[in-house]
């Protein structure tokens, strides 16, 4: 090996180390990499979802009222000036690559709504709010979705879109 070849070899070795260090700094994975997926699931005894098993599902309560019979799976509590309609919705979060033991669930309304919407008793707005922490991966976790209808609310159709986000811990 010539003197010039020896110098090149030393520089190459230095840059390899620099590359490795830079790589570990910028890419701490696989130790912390997390790839997770979310799907909505029907809960037995509750309103069945259209699109269950996917991240974009629909839930139709059907006709709701303060005093008339409700569809199967729909619960109601009647108060002095309003009533609350509820059912359970399952959320399943699966980790594809992760060492993280659990996840935090957040939810928000995609647009403001005149009725009060709650998930597990937490009132939703257009700002994400934490519903629960330390949720387990893999299993469908039921969450109670409810909305409050004042007696003064005019009859008619109600539609809203909930955005649910799982964040790996």
């Amino acid at each position: 090996m010539t003197h010039e070849e020896s110098a090149v070899s030393r520089n190459a070795s230095r840059y390899r180390w620099l590359s490795l260090v830079l790589g570990f700094v910028l890419f701490p994975a696989p130790a912390f990499a997390l790839i997770i997926t979310l799907s909505f699931e029907s809960v037995p005894g509750s309103v069945p979802l259209t699109g269950a098993g996917t991240p974009n599902a629909s839930l139709n309560f059907g006709s709701v009222s303060a005093f008339e019979p409700l569809n199967p799976g729909v619960n109601r509590t009647v108060g002095a000036s309003s009533y609350t309609i509820s059912t359970s919705v399952g959320v399943r979060v699966t980790r594809v690559v992760s060492l993280s033991p659990n996840y935090t669930l957040q939810a928000r309304l995609q647009s403001a709504h005149p009725l009060t919407w709650q998930l597990d008793g937490v009132t939703l707005s257009t700002t994400p709010v934490t519903i629960s922490t330390s949720q387990p991966f893999g299993s469908s976790v039921p969450h109670m979705l409810s909305f409050v209808v004042p007696y003064s609310q005019p009859a008619g159709a109600v539609t809203t879109v909930l955005e649910v986000t799982a964040i790996g811990n």
Binding site: N60, S65, G168
Partner: protein
Amino acid sequence: MRTKDLLKVGVVAASLLAVPSIAAAQLNTATGTLTVTATVESSIGLTFENDAAGVALTGAGSNAATMALGSISAYGTIATPGVARSVSATDFTVSSPFGVRVIKANTSSANYTLAAALGSADSTNSWRINSVTLTTSNQNLGTAYGYGSSVTHTMSLTVPFTATTGAVSKVLNFTATAN
């Protein structure tokens, strides 16, 4: 030249490592959307309420209450508070006031009509609400009752002297209809 090439290789390698790290960070969350629909329907609810001057109802505040008059007779003592009695030449009548409250929800209805009927025919005794004698068909008790407050009505049972002694039980069905 080889040194520069190696430097380029290092930078490219670092870049390749950095890009998936950003992608991985984005995969740290998962989002789904749930579209929720319902149709709010108008409805009204009816409850029976205690009247201060009448028999205390079992199930007051609900839509299925019981008014127990206790032992009744033409001339004996009537021990149940709230039971009034009047005696005629051929029969006696016991009565008690009670309340009916109707609540409206998700409707612009201003008032309601109230009707009542016997759950089954009674060939011996006569049953009235206010002054309306009941049959097994709905009898109109009023057409413009207001929502929200308890409206007092009086239930009357007339028993002929010819009736045999024993228990009397009857279901009275009330129907409120939004106007």
